[in-house]
Symmetry: C2
Subunit: 344 residues, 2 copies
Amino acid sequence: MDKGEEDVSNKQVLLRDYVYGSLKETDMVLSTGTTHLKAPQGSKAILVKNIYLACDPYSRELMKKGFLDDSIKPGSAIAGFGVAKVLDSDHPEFKVGDLVWGMTKWEEYSLINKPEFMFKIHNTDVPLSYYTGILGMPGLTAYACFFELCSPKKGDYLFVSSASGAVGQIVGQFAKLMGCYVVGSAGSDDKVDLLKNKFGFDEAFNYKKEPDFDAALKRYFPDGIDIYFENVGGKMLDAVLLNMRPHGRIAVCGMISQYNLEQHEGVHNLVNFIFKRIRMEGFVVYEHVHLYPKFLDLTLQYIKEGKMVFIEDIIEGLESGPSALIRLFAGHIVGKPVIRVSSE
Amino acid sequence: MDKGEEDVSNKQVLLRDYVYGSLKETDMVLSTGTTHLKAPQGSKAILVKNIYLACDPYSRELMKKGFLDDSIKPGSAIAGFGVAKVLDSDHPEFKVGDLVWGMTKWEEYSLINKPEFMFKIHNTDVPLSYYTGILGMPGLTAYACFFELCSPKKGDYLFVSSASGAVGQIVGQFAKLMGCYVVGSAGSDDKVDLLKNKFGFDEAFNYKKEPDFDAALKRYFPDGIDIYFENVGGKMLDAVLLNMRPHGRIAVCGMISQYNLEQHEGVHNLVNFIFKRIRMEGFVVYEHVHLYPKFLDLTLQYIKEGKMVFIEDIIEGLESGPSALIRLFAGHIVGKPVIRVSSE
């Protein structure tokens, strides 16, 4: 195709090669291509301008070969959730100017081949970036994983790891609103301060200052843990297993401490499953999208009433994305990192 | 109390000290005491003559300090399930001559302080020893753990480890009767032969001849595993996690490979929980005793119709118990070991 007047330059972040072990900034390559700003006729696709891109651990998982449908191949733009505006549409349900959120790519303009998996944004009286966070995939994840898998009851003792992350901060707030006792772990004193003073957790601790996770958990949960909302895996899970109460529930939402390891850490205390009748279950948000409307109504209401808050770290420019993802894994970002690709 | 005419000598197997690491025969001490053959007045106890004693991995777990209510202390007789006859009763629901099964001790005569936890035996047209096995705790364990925790459906692919053990052989038969594809692992060719030719498993393998459990499971489950009935833990669980199907269920009934280890093996593949949405749950039979009558009716019927079989290894004499328990852990016993303490 000739470069016509609707062709524009398109900054992208490409995956150099499948990534195993620690993610490095050089695994991601900044590049500039050309994109035709039209959705091909008959394609049922939409062409969007990306506004906000989520900086999620999930994007790093998609860099492994064979992960899900293996759709992200070396040389293609990194995949992730984002908020975008429709510039052209060949799909009857989307029109120019619509705001959408869902799976897109780390680039300025994206052709979305299956827009039926995107959500249209109708409520714009909250920050648009929230649709990468509290009103997007992390919010729905926290909601569905907590209410569907954890069987929560008022008074339950809940522990959430990676608690200041996008999912963790929301889970803790849902749990507090339900009347649970909530303790979170995070990797810096700033984050611990946020958990206690901004998100209303009962307690929080900096796991990097705890040489013995088991002792830390016994301090905060002298009577044990009913629900563990698992975001990290490895040694923390091992310590949690020693502190679960009978019929405790573990919802496995993520294991971020393991994603960068070629050989995952061994978990030694699984025998506790038997005598404590622990139930542990894995969670993938795709199976719960039918809950989105109910979740959205509830969460919008809580936000408007001031009952829930959300902390983001807005990072300017696509070119800042790779270093932000590295800093996320290093624990150097407070709140949910969001890349602002263009103005709204 | 003076030794009267109702005092008899009582052979016992005593626990020398709490046991950590590998169980040794010398951890158990054969001794002879004296027992008064009366249940004290007002005690609501019963005095029984033990007929069959189960040789269970469970008895070894009870030798650890702090296990359950820590009722088995050094110097006291080893605890375990057994079949017994009531010689004297101070409890209104039990009378002399009743046959019972439940928790008793490794000795000729036992005083049962809480007979309300014993089951009366009404069906005696099957071998009495079955009440330590297919009609006792292992049978109820297999039944309740399979039907209550595994959510089985016709056509499901089921894997059971330690499959020729008391619980394993029964689970496999229940699963076959429900229409599952059933594969078991065991530790000798004799046991594998039993699984395939006596219990009707679709396939079975000798794990001691498999250097790579993952490869073995891929051979027998090219399409993956829906249900893992976990009896062993450790490396086998790790390999199973690589082969689970989406929404697979793991019922943790035991982890016999771990009980004799001071430091349990690490399990590395728990990240599979997330993307496969695996559910794993621990099981303790005590919470399911209300199912016993239903289980008993069904299983008796299956036995009488020849649809279920059970293989035991009857070991003569209390003094043979300790070595039998050692051989059980070494995998040198085929079928369920039962100690015959006295004639019926």
